[in-house]
């Protein structure tokens, strides 16, 4: 045994360290510290989830060592590299038997383990949580045992494995703390698996199925049945996930834990103790946040437990949160936890398992009130931009009980539901703007509810974590290590940590995400034609090339020779039927087209065709979005074949043949010189267009991935999804939402203002 006066480096010289979860936040911090501070280590082996050892090495090289934690900083010349073989990664899936490997892994040389791997999602279903965290940990222990090694095992748990306690929380592993329920892990896992079956079945019951379909129809209705089906299935899966995670949370709360994560970590501790590992340290950090010092101050990856709330506040989304002002917000920087783990690995416990709370609440408490004050002043001095780019004015941080918060949320939900129902019933009242607004409001409320449900308990816990054993280890460190591997939470100056380190780091994290919520692209440059080999370019006509609908064509054709009073009367008549048409179009473009074209029934075909001779000058040109013409020309110059797709009638859009290579329009059946009002072919819309694009691509021998498509409405969604380069032009609100979600180019094209300010010209003599 090494003597007490030895440094960590001396203790670990030539030793082999196994780190799991190195692709995670804490894992990276541990690995980075080892590579930087402990070149004396014999070897570091990493267990990563990957199909093969080569893939694991590749993952290590790019996903782990490529991270910002490993560049710059105080890098030292080290032999601990992939090239020397002293740093190595191997594949292993902790949920599969034998770590999912063909040949059992030889871990006989491992002297110490830092087990960081775990699922840390608060929304994962209980069965997955138990499989990953409990069984996964046992699988590693099993692999070590089989190799015949009995290393010093440092297990990273969580302070919240202690359950929802108030007051002092002792450093005792789960099962040994006061007043804890006995939990049968096997039974819990069985039941959790059974839930999954139950909920999968339930989700397919008609009542739920109808709901998913209704929701999907509302979102992408005009995009056609397959699109609705896909969307409904997505909704169903999401619902199953939510139900499972809610059941897991319910069960965990029933047992005294805030969520399935805490419960699974507690059960892991119990399982490890039951395994009787000779040298075991359970490290229980509280809420891990950005680095205090290493690898650099403010190093963080993604947003952590407390951050969504802080950001939601900074962005003005929430103004109150269910909590108490004197609660201790127990944050701990990631490098402190990493150092504690490494120190524990170098100092095996003497006399049985050791539990260490790595927490700040007991020695250096950060009251929620104080944190709130720092956060408020930070976001007042350096506000975040809102959706329009203006600084958010953050309100005072208000505290309230969770019942009050949830009641307010319910009221908001109710109001929005009524609003949406009204908007759907009276389509004229609705309009894009109202629809969009309601949708945004609902999303904000949903996000808030989720935040409150998931993270609420963590900021509401009125407790203080004892850290006696952690302190003991800290005090026993060699004086050199006390600085290099410090995990002294008393050194944290909370105001400066928050305003100088953590909040700026958060800002950095959300910056790219903020940029994506910038307003629509208006300029040509940003929505430029994607590079690639010449292929096909599909343009929807209504709404993209022309700012019209098939109804406009019809109205123009019927009224062009009417005297003004007749025209007014006629237009009023059509307007009276508009709500019906709009509602039908919302449901399905195909329905709408069929229904609308009945207006042509019994109209004389030859006469209408003759009337249509003036369509180019009188109707099409004033409605052209000239940007589309330039775009089409550029596509043709590139060598693309341009195809115009329109629901308008062939004889009305005929002049557009000269604009593109191909024009695909609707055709009416004609009998005895009159139109029957029926279409000769099914309307070309939604998935029909997607199939057509695919067929044309085959015909012309090009890849769909190289093709371009321009659409304006959600009924174009299947076509846009089918091609490699989709562009949403003046998208309706539903398409805009889908386009943003997928990162498609959003273009805003206009007709010429001259069309409205031109002097009226008599053409007919």
């Amino acid at each position: 045994m090494p003597g007490p006066s030895q440094t960590i480096a001396e203790r670990l010289t030539g030793k082999t360290l196994l780190i799991t979860g190195a692709s995670g936040f804490l894992g990276k911090a541990v690995l980075a510290t080892c590579l930087r501070e402990l070149p004396e280590l014999g070897a570091i082996r990493l267990l990563l989830r990957a199909p093969s050892d080569e893939a694991a090495t590749e993952r290590l090289r790019h996903q782990v060592l490529g991270a910002r934690a490993f560049d710059g900083g105080r890098s030292v010349e080290t032999e601990l590299t992939l090239e020397t073989g002293r740093l190595s990664a191997f594949a292993g899936d902790v949920t599969a038997p034998g770590l999912g490997r063909e040949a059992p892994l030889d871990l006989s040389d491992v002297d110490a383990v830092i087990h960081c791997a775990a699922s840390v999602s608060f929304e994962q279903p209980l069965d997955e949580m138990l499989e990953l965290n409990v069984l996964g940990t046992l699988a590693i222990v099993e692999a070590l045992r089989r190799s015949g090694s009995e290393p010093n095992f440092v297990h990273v748990s969580t302070a919240y494995a202690a359950g929802m306690r108030t007051g002092l929380v002792l450093e005792r592993p789960s099962g040994q703390a006061p007043a804890e329920p006995a939990v049968d892990m096997g039974a819990e896992l069985d039941v959790a698996r059974a839930w999954r079956r139950d909920i999968e079945i339930e989700s397919r019951l008609p009542e739920h199925q109808h709901r998913f379909v209704a929701e999907a129809r509302e979102e992408v209705g005009p995009a056609g049945a397959p699109a609705i089906g896909a969307r409904a299935e997505q909704a169903r899966r999401r619902w199953v996930g939510t139900q499972l995670s809610e059941r897991g949370r319910e069960r965990s709360r029933a047992l005294g834990w805030s969520d399935a994560y805490g419960l699974s970590k507690a059960l892991t501790e119990r399982a490890l103790l039951a395994e009787g590992i000779s040298s075991l340290t359970i490290v229980r950090p509280t809420i891990i946040e950005s680095a205090l010092r290493d690898p650099f101050p403010g190093w963080i990856e993604g947003v952590k437990v407390a951050d969504p709330i802080i950001l939601a506040y900074g962005r003005g989304i929430i103004t109150r949160f269910p909590s108490n002002r004197s609660v201790r917000l127990d944050l701990v920087p990631v490098d402190i936890v990493a150092n504690a783990c490494i120190a524990a690995a170098a100092h095996p416990p003497e006399g049985g398992p050791r539990t260490m709370n790595v927490a700040s609440g007991a020695r250096n408490p950060l009251l929620l009130e104080d944190a709130a004050e720092e956060i408020v002043s930070y976001f007042r001095e350096r506000p975040l931009p809102d959706d329009d780019g203006y600084p958010v004015e953050v309100p005072d941080w208000k505290y309230s009980t969770s019942t009050r918060v949830f009641k307010a949320l319910d009221r908001g939900d109710q109001a929005i539901r009524i609003g949406r129902r009204l908007a759907a019933r009276i389509p004229l009242l609705g309009g894009e703007a109202v629809d969009r607004r309601l949708h945004q409001e609902r999303r904000a409320l949903e996000r808030l509810r989720r935040l409150a449900q998931i993270y609420g308990p963590y900021v509401e816990l009125d407790c203080m974590f004892d850290d006696r054993y952690t302190r003991e280890l800290l005090d026993s460190l060699h004086p050199d290590d006390a600085e290099r591997f410090s995990f002294d939470v008393e050194r944290i100056d909370w105001p400066s940590y928050l305003t100088e380190i953590h909040l700026p780091a958060l800002r950095e994290v959300i910056r790219p995400w903020q940029a994506s919520s910038a307003p629509r692209v208006a300029s040509d440059e940003l929505g430029a034609i994607a590079e690639g080999p010449p292929a096909l370019a599909f343009f929807d006509v209504e709404g993209v090339v022309l700012d019209t609908t098939v109804a406009h064509f019809y109205a123009w054709l019927r009224t062009r020779e009417m005297p003004v009073p007749d025209r007014l009367l006629w237009t009023l008549g059509l307007a009276a039927r508009a709500p019906g048409y709009i509602a039908s179009d919302r449901r399905s473009r195909v329905d709408f087209n069929r229904r609308f074209y009945r207006n042509y029934r019994d109209l004389p075909a030859a006469e209408l065709r003759e009337q249509a001779a003036g369509v180019l000058s009188e109707f099409i040109l004033p409605h052209v979005q000239q940007e589309a013409v330039r775009r089409i020309r550029r596509h043709r110059r590139r060598g693309d074949r341009v195809v115009l797709l329109t629901g308008a009638l062939d004889f009305l859009v005929k002049p557009l043949e000269h604009l593109a290579d191909e024009l695909i329009a609707a055709r009416l059946i004609e009998r005895r010189g009159a139109f029957t009002g029926e279409l000769a072919e099914p309307p070309l819309s939604a998935d029909g267009r997607a199939s057509l694009t695919a067929r044309l691509a085959v015909e012309h021998g090009v890849e769909l991935a190289d093709c371009h498509a321009y659409g304006d409405s959600v009924s174009d969604l299947p076509m846009l999804e089918a091609v490699g380069h989709p562009y949403a032009v003046n998208p309706d609100f539903r398409l805009a939402r889908e386009a943003r979600r997928r990162g498609w180019a959003l273009l805003e094209w206009k007709t010429e203002p001259g069309a409205r300010s031109a002097p009226p010209a008599a053409i007919e003599a």
Binding site: R637, L659, G754, S757
Partner: protein, 553 residues
């Protein structure tokens, strides 16, 4: 007769004989009253600015050049026309050229002249009616009437009816009265190159006629002459032989045929046309009476407006300042001018045209001594290419730097490196039916470069050959794809000559895109101009319209 030489002998046998010897008398020198100096007692000066007016105070000591007053028109236009047809220059009388069984084609200038359009009846109608009457009398049956569009937009049936009159329209439209189609592959013939190798295309019907009667309306020295059939009935290919940057930079100015490369080239084409088909030219020259009462006073110096006229002006200005764009455009585009016909000449191209040029000089030339550092002018609402339409930014440029700048003989009114200040709102408004290629020219070409030579080299061909533009040009009422390019080249000479162009009240984005500066007030514009031409500059205001030109010494 040479292209540029003037006939040595006095013109004979025309109604303009009464002007005898006017050409040698140099009417410009008799216009000293047209150049007025601004004093501290002068009233503000009226500037046209699109469909509105601005009143600007010019610095004391500035010169204002006013248009000469309108000449008295012929009292009996019908007999004037008859006399010209009966006693043409260097050709036999029309009657003797007409015989039964012949193919007769009458081509006439399109709606780009005169500006604004003429109060009815249009002089073209009067000429055509008389020509037709003689043709009927001679037993000619195969008669076609063709609007000589060049690559302008087609005239609508309504516009054709207005130009030729209802009787002719009803008898001939649409089969025998139609627009020339410069892009019709079958409707045009190549007549072979000129002595300088320029291609010559002519409308097939005209080329295959036994006689082509060309009816000109002359309101500027640019117009008329033997180039007209070659251009008006030509094709993009033949027109581009001289409508290019090189020719236009060497046309100083194109209002002075003797010194215009554009004219020299087009006259060579005219020679080829005349060799292929006998052309009987009829040129009707108009005076400059553009304003109808009660707005006739707008042609007079502001200091001479009566109280009533000032009140009318105040009312009109108030109306145009407040009316929405569509209303203003409708009002202005509806106005027609009570031009007087000051002469009709007919016969061989050069001889007949000579008379017109003399009449133009008599009506329009003003002698101005010395160039100015700064020239100001108000750009009106109309140019040859936006009749019944919208004056878009590219047309503003061509009107200002093409037409206005070039209304000189001798030297430009502004000195080399001087500054031009115009008043116009320069709104980014395009007529979607008439000017589709202009929109793309503005958005695509001007975004890249404003240099005429580069514009021509990089972009002209793709626009000229674009199938969509061609379709719109042939079947709708759109200008040819290449037309905006010509508009830009129209200003090429001015762009080379001046140091800065400033638009007072111009839209910032449109002015920047075209490479011009803009100011909110004339005062600001003058400040900006001083940075280019130095302190205490000389300033001349070109008070046009009505149309006139300066002979600068």
């Amino acid at each position: 007769m040479s292209v540029t030489g003037r006939p040595a002998k006095p013109v004979r046998g025309t109604v303009v004989e009464r002007l005898g010897g006017l050409a040698r008398r140099r009417p410009a020198a008799e216009r000293e009253a047209s150049v007025v100096e601004v004093t501290d007692k002068s009233p503000p000066t009226v500037f046209q600015a699109g469909e509105s007016f601005r009143l600007e105070r010019l610095p004391v000591g500035s010169r204002v050049v006013y248009p000469p007053p309108p000449m008295k028109g012929l009292a009996d236009v019908e007999s004037g026309i008859a006399a010209a047809l009966d006693a043409p220059h260097e050709m036999d009388p029309l009657d003797s050229l007409l015989r039964p069984g012949m193919r007769l084609t009458i081509a006439f200038d399109d709606l780009s002249v005169p500006l604004p359009p003429m109060q009815l009846p249009d002089v073209r109608q009067r000429v055509i009616e008389q020509v037709l009457e003689r043709a009927y009398r001679a037993g000619v049956e195969d008669i076609h009437l063709i609007a000589a569009l060049a690559i302008h937009r087609r005239m609508t049936p309504a516009e054709l009816r207005r130009t030729v009159g209802s009787a002719v329209f009803d008898a001939f439209h649409p089969d025998r009265l139609y627009n020339h189609d410069a892009e019709d592959p079958d409707g045009n013939v190549e007549l072979g190159p000129t002595s300088d190798g320029e291609p010559v295309t002519l409308n097939r019907r005209a080329a295959e006629s036994d006689l082509l009667v060309y009816v000109h309306v002359i309101t500027a020295t640019l117009q008329g002459g033997k180039k007209s059939p070659a251009i008006g009935l030509g094709s993009y290919r033949s027109i581009s032989a001289h409508h290019n940057v090189h020719s236009l930079r060497h046309s100083r100015s194109f209002m002075d045929p003797e010194h215009s490369a554009l004219h020299h080239s087009a006259f060579r084409q005219g020679d080829v046309v005349e060799a292929a088909v006998p052309v009987f030219h009829v040129e009707a020259t108009l005076n400059n009476q553009m304003y109808a009462d009660p707005l006739g006073f707008l042609a007079k110096p502001e200091a001479r407006w009566s109280g009533r006229e000032q009140a009318i002006f105040a009312g009109v200005k108030r109306l145009t300042d407040r009316a929405p764009a569509r209303t203003r455009r409708t009002l202005f585009q509806r106005t027609a001018s009570p031009y007087g016909v000051i002469g009709v000449s007919a016969g061989a191209a050069d001889a007949a045209h000579e008379v017109s040029l003399d009449l133009c000089a008599a009506q329009q030339s003003v002698l101005v001594r010395g160039q100015a550092d700064i020239v100001t002018a108000g750009i009106p609402y109309i140019s040859p290419y936006n009749v019944n339409s919208i004056m878009n930014p590219v047309l503003v440029m061509s009107t200002a730097l093409g037409y206005f700048f070039n209304l000189y003989q001798g030297k430009p009114l502004v000195r080399p490196g001087g500054v031009l200040i115009f008043t116009h709102p320069v709104e980014r408004d395009f007529h979607p039916v008439h000017h589709p290629s202009y929109i793309d020219f503005y958005e695509e070409v001007l975004a890249e470069t404003t240099d005429p030579a580069e514009v021509e080299r990089r972009f002209e061909r793709s626009y000229a050959e674009d199938e969509w533009y061609r379709h719109l040009f042939r079947t709708s009422y759109a200008y040819h794809g290449a037309h905006p390019f010509y508009m830009w080249y129209w200003g090429a000479h001015a762009l080379e000559h001046v140091g800065e162009v400033i638009f007072v009240g111009g839209h910032p984005e449109a002015c920047r895109r075209m490479g011009f500066r803009r100011a909110d007030t004339m005062r600001d514009a003058l400040e900006m101009a001083e940075q280019v031409v130095g302190r205490s500059p000389s300033l001349t205001h070109f008070h046009c319209p009505p149309l006139f030109y300066c002979e600068v010494e």
